[in-house]
Amino acid sequence: MGQKEPMGRGSVPSGLLAACQAGEPGAFEQLFSARAGQIYRWGLFLGLSPADAEDAAQEVLVVAFKRIASCRAEAVLTTWLFQITRRVVANARRRRWWRELVSSAPPDQTMEAGLAHESASDVQQELGIRECLAKLPRAQAEVLLLLEIDGFTREEVAQMLELPAGTVASRLRLARASFRALWEAEGQSPFQPENEQAP
């Protein structure tokens, strides 16, 4: 099986964190450009609409700017950004819930794709995956996002979520089972992961 490069483990040029902490001109723009897409994806697969995911990503970057001094090392930058994202996404979901609660109009159930795809079937699959993830408990959705979509290892996810590795493993098992059930309940064909065909 080919070595998979985790989609979520975006790298930043060495020394960029120190440059940001020292307030060097242009450093934040470089950091933001390197991480904006990754944060937007997290928001999207943690249950936000594309518009809300865009706003949330922007908010995460602004919080990162304000608290950059608290990021200890480049090695933990992704973990640090993910933890900010969890909080910002939770706030966005809560705001949306209140908005829907007080609004006289029924909540908008339509979904739009947040990523650019080559084919209509890929768009459908992205929407299906987001819909199923949104129905999972947040703890399970986070584990699936980091392991299955971003490609982090269990040890890395344990560190990001501040959980024991055993807990991550059990959440992952539950999450996969729930996801499969939801996916099939949506009338989608059972999963045939491409990587299972690899030797």
């Binding site: 998979k4 989609m7 934040f28 723009e29 933001f32 450009s33 904006a36 897409g37 944060i39 937007y40 994806r41 697969f45 594309p50 865009e54 990503a57 922007q58 970057l61 602004v62 700017f65 969890r86 939770a90 706030n91 979901r93 809560r94 819930w97 609660l101 007080v102 006289s104 794709a113 947040g114 990523l115 650019a116 795809h117 080559e118 890929d122 699959q125 992205e126 995956i129 947040r138 703890a139 699936l144 299955e148 979509i149 971003d150 490609g151 098992r173 539950l174 996969r176 089972a177 996801f179 499969r180 999963f191 045939q192 992961p193 491409e194 990587n195 299972e196």
Partner: protein, 285 residues
Amino acid sequence: MSAPPDEKELGLRNIVGKGVVPAQVQRRIVLRAIERIEPRAHRPVRWVYATVGLVAAVALVVAGWFGRGPPRPSAGSLVATTSSAATYAIGPHRVELLPLSRMRFAHIDPGAVELELQSGRANFQVAHLLPAEHFKVQSEGVLVEVVGTRFAVEIEGPCQKVRVQEGQVRVTSRGPEGSAVLLPGQERTWCPKASGPEALTAEERLVREALALIRGDESDLPKAAALLERYRIEYADGVFEEEVLFYLCLTRDRLGQTEEAHRLKELFWAKFPGSGRGEKLRQQR
């Protein structure tokens, strides 16, 4: 030997990995974030705004001093009460918002007032209206139109209760009940089916139930506290964590459990340092 089904990867990455974040989205996020963090000191308009703001604030203080009375909300403003009630003046009318309630002043014109009670309870004292004028109060499930009167609207979980003290009001439900005119001394409760338990998740139901108990009788407070504690155990880091912790602080305070309330407030301030509710908890000390 093949792994059990739940040990196998779902292969989500093979599907999602084909999609890319649109370049214009990425650019917009970066540009807006940069715009928000850039120092604004070089912008001369900042001082203009500051001066205008200062003059406006002085004018408001002077106007408030000479024309003391209930605050006059502006159109579109959202107000919320914590432990004490607040009274607002809209022209000749008076609106009393009871503790733990929230209201939006959607539309305020000399002849047309439209309010949205979002949670809790409010009392209304409406002056005589001319035929062309109207005073409407909307809540999640009902619309109350005033014909010149004193009345109260209360939200209890998914239900809304309207009680008339003087005059008469016409209440229109969003549900199949249609509209009804209530006379002095009459009260009626509407419980729309559309917002029944099937429309809510277990997490939402738990929060709603606890909030309804908090707004009810004092004797329900221990049960409300127990529900909020249950939420914290079952939905650690849940979507309503901030609300739950906030109301738990208030409830423990009202139950006289000051040490526990203080411990919870410390936790709230640590977890939600930027929250406006944190300020409200500080003011309660």
